[in-house]
Symmetry: C2
Subunit: 215 residues, 2 copies
DNA sequence: GACAAACACGAGTGGTCGCTCGCATTCTTA
DNA sequence: TAAGAATGCGAGCGACCACTCGTGTTTGTC
C-alpha cells in the first residue's frame, strides 16, 4: 500500500496566480527582513490575502522558501545554464572570468532574494541542506572549469582555489548589491580584478598573460 | 534636575563573577546559534543560573550583546591596537599584509563570537549601529595604511580598494573558521595570496615586487 | 441550476520568548 | 549580630508567531 500518498490537488488558474503572487510577496519580504524575521502574516499582507489563504497553497513557512528557491534555481539555469560549463583553455582567463562574473551579477541584481536566501545564516534545516547541495554543485563546476587552466596544481589545491573564488564572489556580491549605478559598476570591476589577479599566477604557462585593465 | 539618572549599583565580587560567567555563556550561545535565535533562557541555562538572575545584571537581551561586543573590542585593542597603524612604505607589502592577516585571524580564531556578532545579519538596531561605527573605523584605518603604498590612485579609488580588502578578509575568515589544523593554515595562506595579488599591481613603482610564495 | 471542489477569510490556538515579580538567601557594614 | 543591600530563584505575564478551522464565496462540470 502507498505510504501517506500526496494527492495532487487540482489547481484552478486563480490558484496558480495566487501562488505566483504569494511567492513574489515572499521574495519582497525575505529580501528586506531575511527568512527568520519574515512572518507568514507579513507575506500574506504583502500579497493582499489572509493568512488562511496562504496556507491553502503552502503547508508551512519553510515550503514557501523551498518553492521560491527552486523556482529561482530553475530560472537561473534557464538563463545561464552553461555559465559554468568547461571552456576551451585557449580562451584567455580574463574573458572567461569576466563573462561568468557578469552573468552571475546580472542575475543576482535582478533577483536579490537569491542572495538573501542563499547567504542568510538563519535559514532552518531543510533549506540549509538544499543550499549545501547547490553550493557543492557550484564548487564542483568551478573546479571543472578551472582544471584545464590550472594544470600544474594537485586536485586538492584546485578545490581550495574554487572555494576561495566562490567566497570572494559572494563577498563582492554583497558590496555590489549595496550600491547602484556607476558606483556599482566600479565594484563589479574590482571584483573581476580580485579574481583575475588571484587566478592569473596559477595558470599553467601558456601564451597570453592577462594584462591590467582600467575602469 | 537630572533626567532619569542611572544610579551605579554597587556590585559585589560575586556579581562581577556572575557577569563574566553570563557573558561567557552568551558568547557560546551566540556563536552556535547567532544573536536572534539565542534565547535569554538558554544563556541563563548555559551559565547555570535562572532567567531572573540574568536580568539582575542586564536590562535586556540587547545589553548582553553590547557589553560583550564592547569587551571584545577592548580586548582586541589591548592585544593588537597598532595592527592597522600606518607603516613605513619601504616595508614590502607582503610583510605588512601577512602580519595584519595573521593578527586578525589569530584573534578571530580565539574569539569566534566576534565574527558571529559582527557578521550576523540579524542583529537589531543599536548593535548594528555600533558595528557600522567599528566597520567605518576599520575601513578608515585600512585606507590610511594603504595610502602610502597606493600613491598613484585617487582617494575615492583607495576607499574602494579598502572596502574590497575588508570584504575579502571577511569572506576568507568565514572559510578559515570552518576549518581546523593544516587545512585552516592552507586557507590562511590562500587569503594572503588573494589580498597580495590584488594589491601588488596597485602599488606605486618602487623596488621589490612581491614574488610568489608556496605553502 | 445543482453539486462538488477549490478558493478565501480572519478570529482563534498552542507554543515560544523576552522579561517581571514576589520572595528567599547571602553578603556587607556598622 | 542586626539591618539593609545585593544576589538568586522560577513560575508566570504579555506579545508575537506559525498555523488551524469553521464558515462563506467562486469556479468548473453535468
Amino acid at each position: 500500500m502507498p505510504t501517506s500518498q500526496e494527492q495532487p490537488r487540482r489547481r484552478q488558474s486563480r490558484g496558480e496566480r495566487r501562488i505566483a503572487q504569494l511567492l513574489e510577496a515572499a521574495a519582497t519580504v525575505f529580501t528586506s527582513t531575511g527568512y527568520t524575521a519574515a512572518s507568514t502574516n507579513a507575506i500574506a499582507r504583502e500579497a493582499g490575502v489572509s493568512p488562511g489563504t496562504l496556507y491553502q497553497f503552502f503547508p508551512n513557512k519553510e515550503a514557501i522558501a523551498i518553492e521560491l528557491g527552486g523556482r529561482l534555481v530553475a530560472e537561473y539555469q534557464a538563463a545561464y545554464g552553461e555559465a559554468l560549463a568547461p571552456v576551451d583553455p585557449a580562451i584567455p582567463l580574463e574573458m572567461v572570468v569576466n563573462a561568468i562574473v557578469d552573468q552571475f551579477i546580472d542575475f543576482n541584481c535582478r533577483r536579490p532574494v537569491f542572495f538573501a536566501l542563499m547567504h542568510g545564516p538563519d535559514v532552518p534545516g531543510r533549506i540549509a541542506e538544499e543550499h549545501d547541495v547547490l553550493h557543492k554543485t557550484v564548487i564542483d563546476r568551478i573546479q571543472g572549469l578551472l582544471s584545464p587552466f590550472l594544470t600544474d596544481l594537485p586536485a586538492e589545491e584546485i578545490t581550495r582555489v574554487a572555494q576561495v573564488c566562490m567566497a570572494v564572489y559572494m563577498a563582492g556580491l554583497e558590496l555590489i548589491l549595496a550600491r547602484e549605478g556607476a558606483d556599482r559598476e566600479a565594484y563589479v570591476q574590482e571584483l573581476k580584478n580580485v579574481l583575475l589577479r588571484y587566478l592569473d599566477p596559477l595558470v599553467g604557462d601558456r601564451l597570453g598573460g592577462t594584462p591590467e585593465q582600467g575602469p
